[in-house]
Amino acid sequence: MPFVGRTADSLMLEVRERVRDTNGSMHTATFVRSILTSAQQVLNAGLEYVIANGSASLYANRVFYDISTLFSSVIRVIGLRGSATIRDVIKLNSLDDFLIYGPYWSRHIGQHALAWTAVGRDVLAVYPAFENDGSLGLYYVKLTNTFSAGSTVSEFSTEQCGPLVTLTEAILLLRQRDLESCNRALGRLQEDLQLELTAPKLGLASPPSNEASA
């Protein structure tokens, strides 16, 4: 199924109807677009809807990487794939799991990556270090784009835009000090997100339909 997103104008229209500001007297189009942008980015950080992939350059004798130096728009790394082996590299839960390779695991050298883990959002450990410079396929949750114009299309697909509209609605209601309605929107958002949080995650083998390429 081809990816279908929603334009900023269509999202804005729905949000403005919900907050009873259809003529934009309370919230300018620029402000609403900036909130839609931030909302899509923070929701994607948690819900991991928009996934991208690319080839990351790795260096000889190096196990630890600052993820932001590999790709600038990474929110969270979710998978690595060997460039030569075309196999998924095993994800370990924490650095302590690497101790199965011995306490000096960070010094080991090999031809192919066997395991990886992320420490927080910013540090990536790939085991073992490569003998020579090389590369790995990296799958990651990406930082979604800015809604720079009314015609900009969301990176969330149409059916994923519910929480985006509700979060933007809650923020605009807060801004216009309609706290009772804000509270109701917050309740709906909480319900939406709890549903999303308990939903099973799609694996790398079946990426979401709107998978983007880096």
Binding site: S38, Y59, A60, D66, I75, P103, G120, I171, L174, R175
Partner: protein
């Protein structure tokens, strides 16, 4: 994400009520410090070792130790009770460190056990690869959380909401506790969402 962008958003969200950037800037700094308690925003640092010195201190911007390596060996984290159980005279034991003990979390000091007898090699990085082929021998590599001025863009909204909540609940001529409570609820919901494992 710059601090200025967030403070502008705070002012926008409060319709100008929270426009004193000296005050909101201070709240922003506190929120950044609070975030450093969580293992989300992490970084790596090299700490040179001095021969026969066991105690080291993290720098101001370095907050919480997640893992530590000495010359490529992953060190175990021990409590004082554990290390005393291993060796009552641990503070006088010399050798190659295999563990570290956080002496004082507030002052960010930690001790290596046993005490290293070799000093780190020169911290020079001809290939610009301090964590790779230029890694100086007998040096500590610490992975830690920290405070930073350039928070990632996706944290902009929850941080702005939290800063706005703190500003609006402060005693002032624009104090609005109900508004602050809603803003905080939204911020917490978003932090909870992005903080899940």
């Amino acid at each position: 994400m710059s601090k200025t962008t967030v403070l502008t958003l705070v002012s926008d969200l409060t319709l100008g009520a929270a426009s004193d950037t000296t005050i909101t800037g201070r709240y922003y700094d506190r929120v950044v410090e609070d975030l450093a308690r969580f293992p989300w925003l992490t970084t790596m640092s090299l700490i040179p070792v001095t021969a026969n010195v066991s105690q080291y201190t993290l720098e101001t911007a370095q907050a919480k130790i997640i893992a530590m390596f000495y010359d490529g060996r992953q060190l175990s984290r021990l409590t004082r009770t554990q290390v005393e159980g291993l060796n009552r005279y641990w503070r006088n034991e010399y050798g190659t460190p295999h563990s570290y003990i956080v002496d004082d979390e507030a002052n960010k000091t930690f001790a290596l056990y046993p005490i290293p007898t070799l000093a780190s090699k020169a911290q020079s990085f001809p290939h610009s690869q301090p964590f790779g082929q230029d890694f100086p021998a007998y040096t500590l590599l610490v992975i830690h959380t920290g405070t930073r001025t350039d928070l990632p863009t996706w944290l902009e909204l929850p941080v702005a909401l939290e800063v706005a909540a703190r500003e609006m609940e402060r005693e002032s001529n624009h104090r609005d506790l109900e508004w602050a409570a809603r803003a905080r609820q939204l911020a917490q919901l978003l932090f909870q969402l992005v903080g899940k494992p």
